[in-house]
Symmetry: C2
Subunit: 350 residues, 2 copies
């Protein structure tokens, strides 16, 4: 194979290859299937930074015992409309999918359902889990919490994570929910890495250098800055309280105090429109809102007004037709894993 050429690969082939690599690297078949589903969803939508490029590190994490391939996720607490899952450090997709299923089930019985998931591992693009809830006809809200890696507003130090928040709702088109997915940082780490690779400057407000001063040099970025200053920092802190502190599994305070704590926690809230009225009428009303927004005058010619997640769906439609482009560096890393574990490389990636 030629590592310097970007290859296009059909989603199904990439999904199978990804699952084969993960299985060879220690995941169970089911863990690999769920994880490759999440990763290729991100690749399809143009979010390469949350896609199959993660595979070598995920396999390394199994070897290091950070991801537990023998995980036995179990519900530890169930009361009314809430549940707490201990994911036992299963791959992130496994724990968060279990939490989403549980929240959907609880919402079916109680109108809303909240499932906390403790001891998950890296959850990737959490819009995926919110979309699963929307595909069940409900509103889904998903958050995850992790270790300090973002400047806390008013401090010169990393005090919070870039904790993301995703909210999804079904529309009249079952294949096109609205999927809002944001991190609480000013910019995604992937954008800073992309600027580094491209050798271009980043806007002010994205990151600080080792001295704590703001920088536009992506190579100098030591810490991320929060979205909208106190808003991003504060929201991230509240996500830590809801995801981690509520279930007595703190990440931030443990980390700042130098003691061992959890690495990742998450939660899924599902809201069932059926409890509030008519399911079809709700979908139709979301659709009317979507169309009203789409009908707003565009700020720039030839740039349509987009709903949250719409760019991702458009990209996924394109990539389903044309294949998913895999960057040469990513391909080389995947091929190295395949070679190491004697996993057959699909012809389109050879």
């Amino acid at each position: 194979m030629t590592a310097a050429i970007k290859r296009n690969v059909a989603p199904e082939i990439l999904r199978t290859f990804a699952a084969d690599l993960l299985t060879a690297g220690g995941f169970t078949a089911e863990q690999a299937r769920q994880t490759s589903g999440l990763l290729v969803w991100a690749n399809l939508r143009g979010a390469e930074s949350h896609g199959v490029l993660r595979i070598p590190r995920y396999i390394e994490m199994v070897k290091l015992g950070i991801i537990n391939s023998d995980a036995k996720p179990a519900f530890k607490t169930e009361m009314g409309a809430i549940a707490v899952l201990d994911a036992d450090r299963a791959p992130g997709a496994v724990g968060m999918l279990l939490a989403a299923e549980k929240a959907i089930k609880l919402a079916g019985s109680h109108g809303i359902g909240w499932c906390s998931a403790r001891n998950i591992t890296h959850a990737g693009a959490i819009g995926y889990f919110a979309q699963k809830v929307a595909e069940a006809g409900m509103i889904g809200m998903v958050m995850t919490a992790s270790k300090p890696l973002m400047i806390y507003f008013g401090s010169s130090a990393e005090g919070v994570s870039t904790n993301p928040l995703a909210i999804a709702a079904p529309t009249a088109d079952p294949d096109r929910p609205i999927v809002f997915d944001m991190s609480t940082s000013a910019a995604a780490l992937g954008k800073i890495m992309a600027a580094r690779d491209a050798g271009v400057a980043i806007p002010e407000g994205w990151g600080v250098d080792a001295s704590g001063a703001g920088t536009t040099d992506p190579k100098a970025v030591k810490s991320m800055l929060p979205m909208a200053g106190p808003k991003g920092a504060g929201l991230s802190l509240m996500i830590e309280i809801m995801s981690s502190v509520l279930i007595a599994n703190p990440i931030i305070s443990a980390s700042l105090n130098g003691t061992d704590g959890a690495a990742f926690n998450g939660l899924v809230l599902a809201v069932d429109p059926v409890a509030f009225g008519d399911k079809a009428a709700f979908r139709q009303a979301v659709e009317e809102l979507a169309q009203a927004i789409k009908g707003l005058p565009a700020a720039a010619e030839h740039e349509p007004v987009l709903l949250p997640g719409e760019r991702g769906f458009a990209e996924a439609a394109k990539r389903t037709q044309e294949g998913i482009p895999i960057a040469s560096g990513t391909l080389a890393n995947l091929v190295a894993v395949a070679t190491k574990y004697s996993v057959p490389i699909p012809p389109s990636l050879r």
Copy 2:
């Protein structure tokens, strides 16, 4: 009285005066009591724009029939952990306090409780309602939705409101919960109005002029811009879906399509730590997180690292001691209302 001099007034006196004015203007005694509690809470915390300066307009809204002083708020839907209140256009504080009480009650039985409130009126500083939930020992999440007044990202037109989100959690100190409260706009309208009054420029990114171009002239601002571009616009849209579309009371689509819709909806989500474990341990764990954040190195000398809502509590402590300063313009407006309705003016405001 001399309108040009700023007066300091004791909170209790201002609360009584505010309630007397509202009662004279058509509120029932109980509506006036709840509304003055909300307004003076904002004044205490330094959020003048959400304080007693609203009173003349609130009275006008009663006269115009926008606020219904005969409102009979009633729960229309109750199922499992959810409820829907029709606030019947009661004053905002009345509807949202009922929703908060209901969410707290539901959370006590089901672990979480969600109360939607339809047909509320202007809800003011929604951190107040989130704080009420935290004072009950729970995590509170509050959102409200209103008419388009902010540019939708990617459009040149107002497509969403500045829909706020507040989240509060109890700490070890019952009088000092963490109270996160943000709008989805880049800056509060009050800050733009303050810059206008002070004759100073505003930063780029806060607003656009009548032609749709960004402006730093506060007097030229025609429309607000969203926080962090697509993030603020998208989050505001999802708040409309959760607050309005879910209960078949859409604001944005109705407004953009030129039909009559609701003016304001809101919702309160309460999460009871007791369902997840031990209440005291939760408060203590939030306190540990708070202290860890407070212990971060400050970015600037003599500027302590602050928790969400902490500046407001500090200001409230100060103003409880020294009195609440009332700007001369606000005082003149309140005195005019008092004179019109023969409401006695407290000596400290004469």
